[in-house]
């Protein structure tokens, strides 16, 4: 498995909070902007790719025990989201790339999706 640290470095992500929690192993990836969809289908220790920037993404990531959130399209998360993420110790990372590109690069790094991930 690959660590968050490596993903941040390889994809030049900007880390916005919980920078000390990058030691986590990433079990796979999930990309979606529907919170219910992420609630239903993401797996523990997944990295989540979304364009949502409000604080409820932190709630979802915390409830599902996700490894971290990548926000796409150069969007800036809301102040409250960052505050909550820092409290919950969930790394939020930013990229200028749109979802399709960042997912492609993650896949290239060897991050598996649902189809090829082991059941967690």
């Amino acid at each position: 498995m690959i660590k968050l640290q490596k993903i941040v470095k390889e994809l030049s992500l900007e880390i916005k909070c919980a920078a000390h929690n990058l030691d986590r192993q990433v079990s796979g990836g999930y990309a979606s902007d529907l919170l219910s969809d992420v609630m239903a289908n993401s797996k523990k220790d997944n990295i989540w790719i979304t364009l949502q920037i409000h604080q409820n993404i932190v709630g979802v990531a915390s409830l599902k025990d996700l490894a971290g959130i990548i926000i796409v399209n150069g969007r800036q998360p809301e102040e409250e989201a960052l505050k909550k993420a820092a409290e919950e110790n969930i790394p939020i990372m930013l990229t200028k790339l749109p979802t399709f590109e960042i997912v492609g690069r993650l896949y290239k790094l060897g991050i598996p999706g649902m189809g090829d991930a082991e059941e967690v």
């Binding site: 529907l34 523990k44 409820n56 409830l63």
Partner: protein, 311 residues
């Protein structure tokens, strides 16, 4: 076994802790102009065996009790410290990991090292072997206390459920959900999840409860003026009841269909109200009962078995 583990933890700590974390910041120092006679008094009254020598903020040397003894023997107590001090001083940087300091102590055999700031070279503290031992012990103790507290909490509550003698018993947690307040949405589910983990319930079970509670909470936030979520933790199952006082669901059967949503557009743009909430709940519970009356409110009752399915 245990000992092996503890040794590893101490080694780990020497990587975690920095020199600045364990050093003595309250420094007793002398200037180059201090006489050896004065030095003797300083060492004696403070019960120390050496001090750094500073000029302004800058470290210029180190002088120890051995230097003093030599002067005593040679009858040179009136000379100033700068003539007898060691000028080429080995130092630590404040931000160096402790593990580097430990190996340096071994290599040089000195009793103390001045600690300086990396940028300015300013003297900020002094590090002795005693500081290292004390720092490690303190950290170990606080780790231990935290672990004890956690274990105690977990043990106590999971045991309570087992120890209760009754025909029916349950722990009840109730959360008030404020309608239309997206800034607090999800807090109840989050609090319930943490509570259940403390209770020592299986993470797989807790995950399912959390998803169901989250979706129920979101429905209350999105569509109503507010309500309650109650969780009943029983020995064999967890029941969750979500209650609100309106507006009610006109067509429950349709509401249960994946993708059917009546959420306003602005809510959907936030990524909510995708018509997946109720289907999501259904997917992760063992029993689900939804009763709604338009104008009166909605009651959702769900059950998740602790033993059995998906465990």
């Amino acid at each position: 076994m245990t000992q092996e583990k503890e040794i590893t933890r101490v080694q780990e700590l020497t990587y975690e802790l920095k020199v600045v974390d364990v050093m003595t910041a309250d420094i007793i120092a002398v200037t180059p102009q201090t006489s050896m006679k004065e030095l003797r008094e300083i060492l004696r009254t403070n019960r120390i065996s050496g001090t750094p020598v500073v000029e302004g903020n800058r470290l210029v040397g180190i002088v120890s009790i051995e230097d003093l003894i030599k002067c005593l023997a040679d009858g040179e107590m009136d000379v100033s410290v700068q003539e007898k001090m060691t000028k080429k001083v080995e130092t630590f940087y404040a931000d160096e990991p402790l593990v580097r300091a430990v190996s340096k102590f071994d290599r040089y055999g000195f009793g103390r090292f001045p600690v300086i700031e990396r940028d300015q070279g300013k003297l900020v503290g002094i590090l002795t072997k005693g500081d290292i031992i004390e720092g490690l012990l303190k950290k170990l103790e606080s780790d231990f206390t935290e672990e004890e507290v956690r274990r105690f909490r977990r043990y106590r509550v999971s045991q309570i459920l087992k120890d209760i003698i009754a025909d029916k018993s349950a722990l009840i947690f109730q959360y008030n959900v404020v309608g239309q307040d997206f800034s607090r949405a999800g807090e109840s589910a989050s609090a319930l999840r943490k509570t259940l983990l403390y209770l020592g319930l299986h993470p797989q079970i807790v995950r399912r409860v959390a998803i169901a509670a989250y979706e129920a909470e979101m429905n209350i936030v999105i569509f109503t003026k507010g309500g309650q979520i109650s969780a009943y933790v029983e020995p064999e199952q967890i029941k969750i009841e979500a209650h609100d006082t309106g507006p009610g669901i006109p067509d429950v059967e349709r509401a249960m269909q994946p993708g059917f949503s009546t959420a306003p557009e602005w809510v959907q743009e936030l990524g909510f109200g995708a018509g997946m909430g109720l289907p999501n709940i259904k997917k992760c519970v063992d029993e689900m009962d939804l009763i709604s009356q338009v104008g009166k409110g909605t009651d959702l009752k769900i059950t998740i078995n602790i033993k059995g399915r998906g465990n």
